[in-house]
């Protein structure tokens, strides 16, 4: 995917022009011209980013320069110690996690990890976990429970990996077990969809007391491409599928699935990692503060009720 998204082009062009004028003529000499252009830029940004389609958000959520789990760990946490492996078969590089400090408090963190270039993406399997990844995640979350530490998970995956080994080693069972065990974990869990929340591979680390989404993140039952392939036999109709499935953060908030939307910098998290991480820090701090006084039993009850009430149906008398 190109770094420059089609719908952003007019904005990026205007930004480049402003930068060029500034470089050529100096700040003082060009203040008037720049002022006008900057006003135009603001209006254009408002127009474009204020009315993003589901597909445009999907492109932002998948932007190769978007901060990934390890970037967010570095920006948000102290004393991170990465822990590897599921103690059974291997270490899945598509899910990372470990011990860390968040604002002085010990936490366990887990997240899907995508790569930024081809080499990294091959190592990380494009953020698509094998069963070992879910099993590592569960091992770390159970470690958190054992020592009474909160769990923070960052969701960013196209989905589980559709491969031979993943099936042979029981990825369905691994995902299912995580769902059940997370439901009963006697410690606070906060999950944040930071990029792409793709299907079961995403939910496998997403059964939390609080589920948040970054403003441009997406979360869906199947990838837009997969949905389009099934509905119309044509993956290129993904934009339409994304719209139909209501995959955006505002959609999910309306449907009562998530507990908060974390604002992103203008143009998306990739434009300003520090600002994105800062907003996320504020949200995590607030939700942890609310969950901290609760007993383990209350946390499990709270999580049960949160998922128990999801569903829309009729029941005529």
């Amino acid at each position: 995917m190109p770094d420059e998204l089609e719908f952003e082009k007019p904005i990026l062009e205007l930004e480049n022009r402003i930068a060029e004028i500034r470089a050529a003529e100096g700040e003082a000499a060009s203040r008037d011209a720049i002022g006008k252009l900057e006003e135009r830029l603001r209006r254009l940004q408002q127009k474009v980013y204020g009315s993003l389609t589901a597909w445009q958000r999907a492109q932002l959520a998948r932007h190769p320069k978007r901060p990934h789990a390890l970037d967010l760990f570095r920006l948000l946490l102290t004393d991170f110690v990465e822990l590897h492996g599921d103690r059974v078969f291997g270490d899945d590089m598509a899910i990372v996690g470990g011990l860390a400090g968040f604002e002085g408090e010990p936490v366990v963190v887990v997240g899907h990890q995508k790569g930024r270039d081809t080499r990294e993406n091959i190592a990380r399997n494009f953020g698509m976990p094998h069963p070992e990844g879910y099993r590592k995640a569960l091992r770390l979350m159970q470690l958190a429970e054992k020592f009474g530490k909160p769990v923070i998970t960052f969701i960013d995956t196209p989905g589980a990996y559709p491969g031979l080994g993943a099936e042979e080693r029981g990825q369905a069972e691994a995902i299912a077990r995580n769902l059940r065990e997370m439901a009963g974990l006697r410690t606070p869990i906060i999950s944040v969809v930071t990029g792409e929340g793709g299907s079961g591979g995403a939910l496998a680390i997403g059964v939390a007391n609080r589920v948040l989404m970054l403003e441009h993140a997406i979360y869906s039952v199947i990838s837009p491409e997969g949905c389009a392939a099934i509905l119309w036999g044509d993956a290129s109709k993904a934009p339409e599928a994304a719209r139909l499935m209501r995959t955006t953060a505002p959609d999910l908030q309306r449907l009562g699935i998530i507990d908060g939307v974390v604002p992103e910098p203008v143009g998306g998290a990739h434009r300003n990692w520090e600002e994105a991480a800062g907003n996320l820090r504020t949200a995590l701090r607030e939700h942890l503060r609310q969950l901290r006084p609760r007993s383990p039993g209350e946390l499990v009850q709270d999580r049960y009720e949160k998922f128990r009430r999801i569903g829309v149906f009729d029941e005529p008398a």
Binding site: G163, Q171, A172, E173, V221, L255, F313
Partner: protein
Amino acid sequence: MAWFWKKKEGEERPTKVQIAEGLWVKCDSCKEIVYRAEVDRAGRVCPRCRYPFRISARERIASLVDEGSFEERDARLTARDPLEFKDTKKYTDRVKAAKKATGLEEAVLSGTARIGGHPLVLAAFEFGFMGGSMASVVGEKLTRAIELAIQKRIPLVIVSASGGARMQEGILSLMQMAKTAAALHRLAEERLPYISLLTDPTTGGVTASFAMLGDVIMAEPRALIGFAGPRVIAETIRQPLPEGFQRSEFLLQHGQLDLVVERRELRETLRRVLAFFAGPPSQPAP
């Protein structure tokens, strides 16, 4: 074994008309044309290759439980259209068509029953209802079934036959995986047994939630069981899939199932397992 149709010299193959009239059926597995009465007598199993044909939820329940013991619950739950989903057809029209085709309100039937005298909560999928897909109603009915098992302190049996989560309810369908798995956590905490029976096919979000969480997991022979569909896997890895991949026997070999059971043995196997759980505890649970 003279009772099934054999390809002999001079013998006439059944005509299209006869197949359409229902005297003969084509086996989904071996593709042979077989005599319907023989298939029915064997419990809807192919007399040629022993492939268990897909059966409806009602047939499934009738084949497993003590006669007349099934009492349906939550029968009126019916789908809404929370996303106002319309592709080539409206979701509401798809649901309407599925109701008409199956005579059921949704893709799962649930209630109480007895097997060999043992009481249980039983849920069975109807694959004919939008591919047995799970959305809000299926998730709610299963969760209520699990909660009923807890309330009555009796075992739970779920018979799966499903393509997975239903796209037309989007994220709500995905979340039913978490909802049912969370309810199963409660069932496990209460030390109540859950037997999961997987039938052809059990894939996607159903496999990756309640279907793989049984205390005992059994499957019918040759059922397709997996998370990703075989077509998607073949496209991803760009090579043909090994023989028998994602079939019951393959899963058994890879340690994913407790046992594979022929259809005619299912009732007796379930009875034995239920009898085990119903027996007096040798020592009190901790």
